[in-house]
Each structure stands twice: as C-alpha cells, then as structure tokens.
C-alpha cells in the first residue's frame, strides 16, 4: 500500500505533526481516562479515572491552546453538565451555565437536555468558541471557552426542526442525538451538523439559515427518503486537507460527498457483501482526502450491533471508496462480540497516522501504521463512548 505522504493533499497542504507526545482522551460510561503516550506511541501512561461513576460522553482538548479540556458529563441521578480543565486534567471546574433548552412558555411542555453528547471547538480564528450537540437534539454554542452555553441558531425550538427530530421514542437507544458538528476549516460561517434521527444540515451564513443535505442517502426500506425524520446519519467527517470532501457513516451505508455537489455517493456498496457497510464511526486521514477508515458492525435482522461474525476489523479505503481493504492483524480472530461507537474511533496527525478505537467492552486499541497492525493498550475499562487524540508539545 502506498504511504500517505506520497499522495498530494488537495487544496490545503497540511504537514504531519512533528513527533510530539500523544494524548488520548477516553470517555466512558463510568468516567474519563487520559492516556499519555511517548513520541513513538509505544508506551502509555494512564491518568484516571476522572469523574468516576459519571457518564462521560465526550472529552476534547482545545487545539487552540493545547491545555484546556472539556468533558461532557452526567450521572445516573444528576442532570448534565460540562466540566473544564485548564491544566490537562489536573483540576476541573464546572461550567457556570451548561447547555440547557429555553424555558417553554406557560402551558407548553418544554424539553430538557439529558446529556451533552458532542463537543466541537471553533476555528483558530475564533478563540473561545465551542459548539455542543445534545440528546435530545439541541445545538448550543459557547463563546467563552465553555464556561457559559446558549442555544445556537433557531433550530432547537423551530417547529420544522422539532418535527424532524421526532420524540425520544424515535431516537437511538441512548436517546436521539445531535452530533457531527463540523466547522469548515476555511470559513467559520460554513457549518454542518447531523441528527439521529433528523438528517444532515448545512449553513453557509453562520447558522442563520440551514439547508438539508439528504440527496443520495438511503433510508430503511418502506420509509420515504424525502422525510428528514427517517434519515439516520451516524457520523460525518470533513477532510482537513480537502474541505470540499465529506465522508459519512450512515444507518444505511457509507457515503462520500464532494462539494459543491449535493448528492452523497454510497461508496459502501464496494465493501465486501458478507461484511456490509453498516457501522457507527468513521475516520478521515489528516492529509490524504482519499483515505478513510470505518469499523463495520452487524446491522442485520435485529441489529446485534456487534462485530460481524464476532471477528472485528477495520476497513480502509485509499481511493475515496472505490475499494476497501480489511485490517485485522492483532485483533481477536474470533469470538469477539464487541463493537465501536460513533465517537470512539479517531486518528492522530502523525506520519504514519496512528489510529485508535475504544470498544463497548472497555478495550482501547491503537495502530501505529494506519491500521495494518493493532495493539491493545488498555483493557477492563467501562464501556467506551468516545476517543479523541491530541499532540502535546
């Protein structure tokens, strides 16, 4: 297979991150852990648990200052909040005003945030800006580094959006979610987000107006694909080296979108038939827009949400989805019935790219060679909800 650096980046040249320490942020159903790696990514030091017993949906490092962490938290009893650390997790402070929906007018039933699910930092040009997606579906923004949050745009209470969001009963098992909040790296006004359910949405005016991006996407048989409510995007990623290109792992397949086209192309049709193209996470290469990785799961019959046939594997494309290659070296060869959630697989910016995923059974795996060989770097964690990385200086 060709090495990544042999391929030219399209549109934006992004240099590989120099050898620096890697931080892996692991969010689980029972707390958060930080794994500090060396520059070779061979030895790892566990720092945790943080917030033992809290349901942590996402932990993200602010790439603009390299030291501020945000963690989306709740517990079995307590309502949702955001914790902030400005010293890489040594101390934490709760947000003064976590994401919360507007109070409903008298006589109407309002919504309450169950948990913040997704965190996205703004561009370097917008220090302090963060976006949050919640369950049930809500979009929020902070302009002070995550201390205070306000509903963003008009979608949370827009009757049309509320119809597309459906009810809690229409959502995924852990509640319907707004996720995949993407800020175009070239333009702060160009935003995407997705809802499970509720489809894919794009704004080119900083969130004042939104347009649907559903063309080409399949839906479950028997439903009307013209209805946004029945669309279930699982994870969308934009290519840093070519922001005209997005990839999507959907409830109904794997897709690629090359803007300005508005039609998604189902590149998952090229996956092996016995594996299929159902799954949750998707990772894009930091410098090669033709390369992406997915982690297929069993979406047949009753949707077991396990690795197909109990044989976990990562699939990679190096040609924008024309072909896919199976990578399972080092992973269990059989009887491994875990899978990987939509936020629980990611990459770093090194060369070759390091890949990381956390399993529903609490194992953290990594590959130093873009997926060819895998090593388990932590076991016996709680169910892993999200994995993120950052390069520390």
């Amino acid at each position: 297979m060709a090495r990544t650096k042999s391929k030219p980046a399209v549109g934006r040249k992004i240099q590989p991150a120099k050898a620096r320490r890697i931080l892996v942020m692991v969010a689980t159903r029972k707390g958060a852990w930080l794994y500090h790696g060396d520059a070779a990514r061979k030895s790892w030091r566990a720092d945790g648990p943080h917030f033992l017993g809290h349901v942590i949906s996402h932990v993200v490092l602010d790439p603009r200052d390299g030291r501020t962490l945000l963690a989306a938290a709740k517990t079995g009893h307590l309502g949702p909040t955001i914790f902030r650390s400005m010293d890489l997790g040594r101390t934490w402070k709760e947000a003064a005003q976590p994401p919360a929906f507007a109070k409903a007018p008298e006589g109407q039933t309002g919504r309450a945030v169950d948990h913040t699910f997704w965190l996205t930092p703004g561009r370097a040009a917008d220090p302090g800006v963060w976006y949050a997606g919640t369950s049930p579906q809500g979009l929020f923004r902070s302009e002070d580094g995550g201390v205070t949050w306000k509903p963003f745009s008009s979608i949370n209470d827009d009757p049309q959006f509320r119809k597309w969001m459906g009810t809690v009963q229409d959502g995924t098992p852990d509640g319907p979610k707004l996720h995949s909040i993407i800020v175009d790296p070239r333009d702060s006004q160009h935003l995407y987000f997705a809802m499970s359910g509720g489809g894919v949405h794009e704004s080119v005016d900083g969130g004042r107006t939104w347009a649907l991006l559903l063309k080409g996407l399949d839906v479950v048989e028997g439903f009307d694909r013209a209805q946004p409510a029945v669309h279930d995007p699982h994870c969308i990623r934009i290519c840093p080296s070519n922001p005209h290109r997005l990839y999507q792992q959907n409830h109904c397949g794997i897709y690629r979108l090359d803007r300005p086209s508005e039609t998604w192309v189902r590149i998952g049709k090229n996956m092996p038939k016995q594996v299929g193209d159902i799954g949750f996470p998707l990772v894009v290469h930091p410098r090669d827009p033709d390369t992406a990785w997915v982690f297929p799961m069993d979406g047949t019959a009753v949707w077991p949400r396990t690795s197909p046939e109990g044989r976990p594997a990562v699939y990679a494309t190096r040609n924008a989805g024309k072909t896919w290659q199976r990578f399972d070296s080092g992973l269990p060869a059989k009887q491994a019935w875990w899978t990987v959630k939509r936020q629980a697989m990611t990459g770093d910016a090194a060369d070759p790219v390091g890949l990381y995923f956390g399993t529903t059974s609490g194992e953290l795996w990594m590959s130093r060679d873009e997926g060819r060989r895998w090593t388990c770097i932590a076991r016996h964690l709680p169910e892993i909800y999200a994995v993120e990385t950052a390069a520390l200086s």
Partner: protein, 85 residues
C-alpha cells in the same frame, strides 16, 4: 432550614447537611444555588421539573411541586432514587 444532601451532590456542599431558607421549595433551592453554584441544575431541569432520578421529601413526605410552601422548621431531604444507579 436544614437540607440533607445526597452523596452525589456533596461535591458542591462538601458536607451532608446544608442550611437554606425560603418560603417555598423553589425558594429554598434558589438559596442553595446561591451558596453552591450549579447544584440546582443537577436536580431540577430547565423546565423546572424535578429530575427523573431525584426525590425530594419534606418532613418525610415526597414533594413534587416546587411551589410547595415551607416553614423554617421543616426538614428537606434530597435523595437519589434507587432507579438512577
């Protein structure tokens, strides 16, 4: 009045009892929030509903309405419901 604080909320109060005042349960919770910022939202959602796995008792009786009048001698107990573990 005395308010008993469950273990899940003692990261705010740092003890099992807190003093708060107010003529209603809502006012007592607002007083708690003034002294322990952030504590109210962990118990009461943005629609002023008591969260699903939080229970509040006044003198041994469960209270579901934040407008419940209270006296200075009342004892308020906030507990974690068994369902939320």
């Amino acid at each position: 009045m005395k308010v008993l604080i469950p273990s899940a909320l003692r990261s705010y109060t740092e003890r099992s009892e807190a003093e708060a005042s107010g003529a209603t349960l809502a006012a007592v919770l607002a007083d708690l929030e003034r002294n322990y910022p952030g504590i109210r939202f962990r118990m009461i959602d943005e629609q002023d509903r008591i969260r699903r796995h939080i229970r509040i008792f006044v003198n041994g009786e469960q209270v579901r309405d934040l407008a419940q009048p209270l006296n200075a001698s009342d004892e308020v107990i906030i507990v974690q419901a068994l369902s939320g573990g």
